[in-house]
């Protein structure tokens, strides 16, 4: 297999973008990525698009072709493929793009993620997001997506030392980072009190424990490492790509508070890259809810089970801590356009490794991304490194 590098990245601002359509969003992200890689569209060989639910959000399927068309690539007839794994759709699109380049099947490949969530009502959105979990045996019983993560939180807090304040600190930290990220949906710092006084959504999770409803798109461009320098002075190498699955329903998991798919994919990723935890300088984890970040840090092996709350309180995961987690602001503060999130994580790590992260820049040579579908039925992990 060929070594693969990221040669260009682009991302829209995230938020409730009433004036932007689905088509506007991905065109903007794609154009930014092309410009970044100094490419015209002509050189693109293939396109992979991560999207969770355009069928329900905007009543449009077949968006691989739609995107190729509106990106002006129809006359080139390039292959364009949508991949879906709920909130992990973006990460899987990136992984398919890696496979296409690594196999030699394609050369210059775009991996994009896009979600337009604000064209339907909030009630319909709750309903659509629940389709990421087991519709027949969770959703039918009244389970919402926040409700499922709330049950993880309750189980966790019953078994491990995690205070409500430590959980809130995850949101506080991520808003601190988001306030330093020009694309973030929320640009304001918050306090622990803000979280604790926000309304309960599903006990013990409150509104500020939850990622928001977001419109947005992100795109990255991949090429064989051997030719990457033709396009950019700062190619970022893909060191590992790992994916794992688990039961669709939370109640069927071996352990409610451990995402085994994260554990498995994490092990595979470290093994592939030949690296240990000390080699990782930053991690973008899937904090769709604050408890998600706590579990991720542990399940990835950065500490033992039950320690992540204290780690967070101690500032280890803060922007300039020993292990910065979610420098972008994470899903919590940067926003969570579901299909785009996995690509935005790559975008953030690439900016950090290139030294282009502005006010939130840290020193980093290697970064990891962790993208979760549903309550952990799909996990996809990537490790990237500066060249």
């Amino acid at each position: 297999m060929k070594d693969v590098a990221v040669i260009g990245v682009g991302c829209t601002t995230f938020g409730e973008k009433w004036n932007h359509s689905f088509r506007d969003l991905f065109i903007e992200a794609g154009a930014l990525a092309l410009e970044d890689a100094n490419l015209s569209g002509e050189q693109i060989d293939a396109l992979f698009v991560g999207n969770m639910s355009a069928g329900r959000f905007i009543e449009q399927e077949h968006i691989g072709a739609l995107i190729a068309d509106y990106a002006g690539l129809a006359t080139k007839h390039i292959p364009s493929t949508r991949v879906e794994a709920a909130c992990a759709s973006g990460g899987l699109a990136f992984r398919q793009a890696i496979t296409a380049v690594a196999s030699g099947m394609s050369t210059i490949v775009v991996a994009a993620g896009v979600e337009k969530m604000t064209d339907i009502t909030p009630g319909q959105t709750v309903d659509t997001l629940a389709s990421a979990a087991d519709r027949e045996w969770e959703g039918f019983m009244g389970a919402t997506f926040p409700g499922l993560y709330a049950m993880i939180a309750h189980d966790y807090m019953h078994r491990y030392p995690l205070t409500r304040e430590q959980l809130a600190q995850v949101a506080v930290k991520n808003h601190f980072n988001g306030a330093r990220n020009p694309i973030a949906q929320f640009q304001q710092e918050i306090s622990i009190e803000t979280v604790l006084s926000s309304s309960l959504v599903a006990d013990p999770l409150r509104l500020f424990d939850c990622s928001p409803i977001t419109d947005g798109a992100a795109a990255v461009i991949l090429a064989p490492l051997e030719i990457a320098k033709q396009f950019t002075d700062t190619p970022i190498k893909v060191l590992a790509s790992a994916q794992a699955s688990d039961t669709i329903a939370l109640h069927d998991r071996r352990d409610i508070s451990t995402l085994d798919a994260t554990v498995e994919a994490g092990k595979r990723a470290f093994h592939q890259a030949g690296l240990t935890h000390r080699d990782i300088d930053l991690v973008e984890v899937h904090d769709c809810f604050t408890i998600g970040e706590i579990c991720a840090i542990e399940d990835l092996g950065f500490c033992t089970k039950g320690e992540a709350g204290q780690l967070t309180e101690d500032g280890v995961t803060a922007l300039h801590g020993d292990l910065p987690v979610n420098t972008s602001g994470g899903l919590k503060a940067c926003g969570h356009p579901v299909g785009a999130t996995g690509i935005k994580q790559i975008y953030e790590v690439v900016l950090q490794l290139r030294g282009e992260a502005g006010k939130r820049q840290i020193e980093a040579e290697r970064g990891m991304t962790h993208n979760v579908g549903g309550t952990g039925a799909t996990v996809v992990i990537h490790i990237l490194g500066a060249c």
Binding site: W137, F140, G142, A143, T144, M151, L200
Partner: protein, 129 residues
């Protein structure tokens, strides 16, 4: 939520009927037609669960999708049936009474409704045992 595909599992939903692999003795709820341990050597038969179990974890849903909004706040839990398998279900009890380790038993109740069609869904809820 359209109704069509839910009638298929009505006996299972109404009466907690799952399955059991006689080859290895594992119980399944929701019912499975395929035993992941025994695979082709498995032998699956129907099994009526006794309907008693223990709360593993729970939450109180305060913001719901349209079809459950009428019921908020309601208690949702993961329950381990005494035979082994776990399921997600509502518990009919005041939110403050729900707790991890709570013993519960099944009852037949209204689950939700389809706002558009007005059709009401029934199924198994749990109450304190």
């Amino acid at each position: 939520m359209s109704v069509a595909r839910f009638w298929r599992k009505i006996p299972q939903r109404y009466n907690l009927i799952g399955t059991r692999c006689v080859a290895c003795g594992r119980y399944f709820f929701p019912p499975r037609s395929f035993c992941p341990s025994c695979r082709r050597n498995g032998k699956i038969i129907d099994y009526q669960f006794k309907g008693e179990g223990t709360v593993i974890t729970y939450t109180v849903i305060r913001t719901a999708s349209d079809q459950f909004e009428y019921a908020t706040p309601y208690v949702l839990a993961i329950i381990q049936l005494d035979e082994g398998p776990r399921l997600t279900a509502q518990i009919s009890c005041p939110p403050e009474e729900a707790h991890i380790g709570m013993r519960v038993k099944k009852v037949f109740r209204r689950i939700g409704s389809d706002g558009k069609s007005g059709v009401i869904h029934y199924g198994t809820k749990f109450v304190a045992a």
